[in-house]
Amino acid sequence: MKIIIATAVATVLGATVAMAGATKPQDVAFEDGAVAVSVSGTAGDAAVGREVFANRRLGNCLACHVNSDMPELSFHGEVGPPLDGAADRWSEAELRGLVANSKQTFEDTIMPGFYIDTGYFRPLDDFAGIPILNAQQVEDVVAYLLTLKE
């Protein structure tokens, strides 16, 4: 028993250390829809963010947004506005807020909140209580969006 508990504690500590700088979804501070500080505590990687943006199992942003920076991929959705020049229209903090929870900017939008872990109804078991993207993936996408200038 003791050994099992000791391992469990170590695991929890390990996780805490790794997450030290991250803000939990429910603790993210929005101001007029914008989020000023990195939710992961570190800078995002735009190249990784580009992958997350396109990946159907991750951001799948392309499902709803045309993005001419990705001509190699077919099937850009049209549900939302094209994201060309997104960084000219929005600041870094605004883009972070849009990715984390766009309902703070656009009330009633169809766009999912990518960094929320409650407030949704009947999630499949595999997705219950977790956000669509983790904190670092949010930052990676934000870093990528910041490259979309016209």
Binding site: C64, S74, H76, E78, P81, R122, L124
Partner: protein, 284 residues
């Protein structure tokens, strides 16, 4: 939000960008089946619809190739299943030694018009779907086992019965005893579910006509159900389709044949009141 002003122009640019990459069908095309039966693929929205003026069949959002498959019964792969159902129609099953044909001596043609009014309220005041009617007949009249809600035998049989109403206007009742079920269906239609937190209406009312990645969003009408899908090469039931849409938004689907999906089915059927029954349709 000043952004909204930008949106329209940006959107037009986006559409132009898309034009080259997707072979879009002509949304104005007319559906004529076997060169004789003209199907109304658009109609004036029924009075109870608050946010839409015109209702449209899912057929108009499909590619020309998929559309063509539904224009001739020899090309329509669903007719393989209609044939399976014709065999089942004549097949004796259960303790009473009967087939459908034993009682319904005029053939499936007897059911012309039925699908156009389903689901409906039964004599006990419950909402019943065509699938449930078929199973009730199997159990009570034939002494046979009920079929699984969305299995091939059931989907084929409801396609055969639906075919008898092809060309007739959808006309389900939503008043009287149906009203509370209809209200429930409407509520569920507008409720956001799943990790993606999206409702049926977000896609099928707010965004029909646009692409969601590789899919051209329709109004999610059910006048062509059960439908043959190229994707899985079988007949797909309404409840099977609802389940698929819910899983896509990472929501736990309601039960096939359960009260929620039955209520949604009634509500969706009523959103198509005035369209033409197209069963069995072809989709991608």
């Amino acid at each position: 939000m000043g952004m909204y002003l930008l949106k329209t122009t940006a959107f037009a640019a986006g559409l132009a960008l898309m034009a080259g990459s997707v072979a879009q069908a002509d949304e104005g095309a007319t559906l004529v089946i076997n060169e004789e039966l003209t199907i109304a693929t658009t109609a004036k929205a029924p009075a109870h619809l608050e946010n839409i003026d015109e209702i449209t069949s899912g057929w108009i959002y499909r590619t020309k190739e998929t559309q063509a498959l539904q224009m001739d019964d020899f090309d329509n792969p669903a007719f393989v299943f209609v044939d399976i159902a014709l065999d089942l129609w004549n097949e004796v099953d259960g303790t009473e030694g009967k087939s459908c044909a034993s009682c319904h001596t005029d053939g499936p043609e007897e059911f012309a018009g039925l699908t156009a009014t389903m689901p409906r309220i039964d004599k006990d005041g419950n909402l019943e779907t065509l699938t449930e009617v078929v199973n009730r007949e199997r159990v009570e009249k034939m002494g046979a086992k009920p079929w699984k809600y969305s299995k091939t035998n059931m989907a084929s049989m409801t396609a055969l019965i639906g075919l008898q109403s092809r060309g007739m206007p959808v006309n389900v009742a939503i008043d009287g005893a149906a009203a509370p079920f209809w209200e429930r269906g409407k509520e569920l239609y507008y409720t956001r579910v799943g990790q993606l937190d999206i409702s049926c209406s977000n896609c099928h009312e707010d965004n029909y006509g646009v692409m969601i990645r590789a899919d051209h969003l329709s109004q999610g009408q059910i006048n062509g159900f059960p439908t043959y899908r190229l994707k899985n090469a079988k007949m797909n039931t309404t409840h099977g389709r609802f389940k698929g849409c819910m899983k896509n938004i990472r929501a736990v689907p309601y039960k096939e044949g359960g009260e929620e999906f039955k209520a949604i089915e009634l509500y969706l059927a009523s959103r198509g009141n005035g369209l033409t029954v197209e069963t069995p349709s072809v989709r991608n």
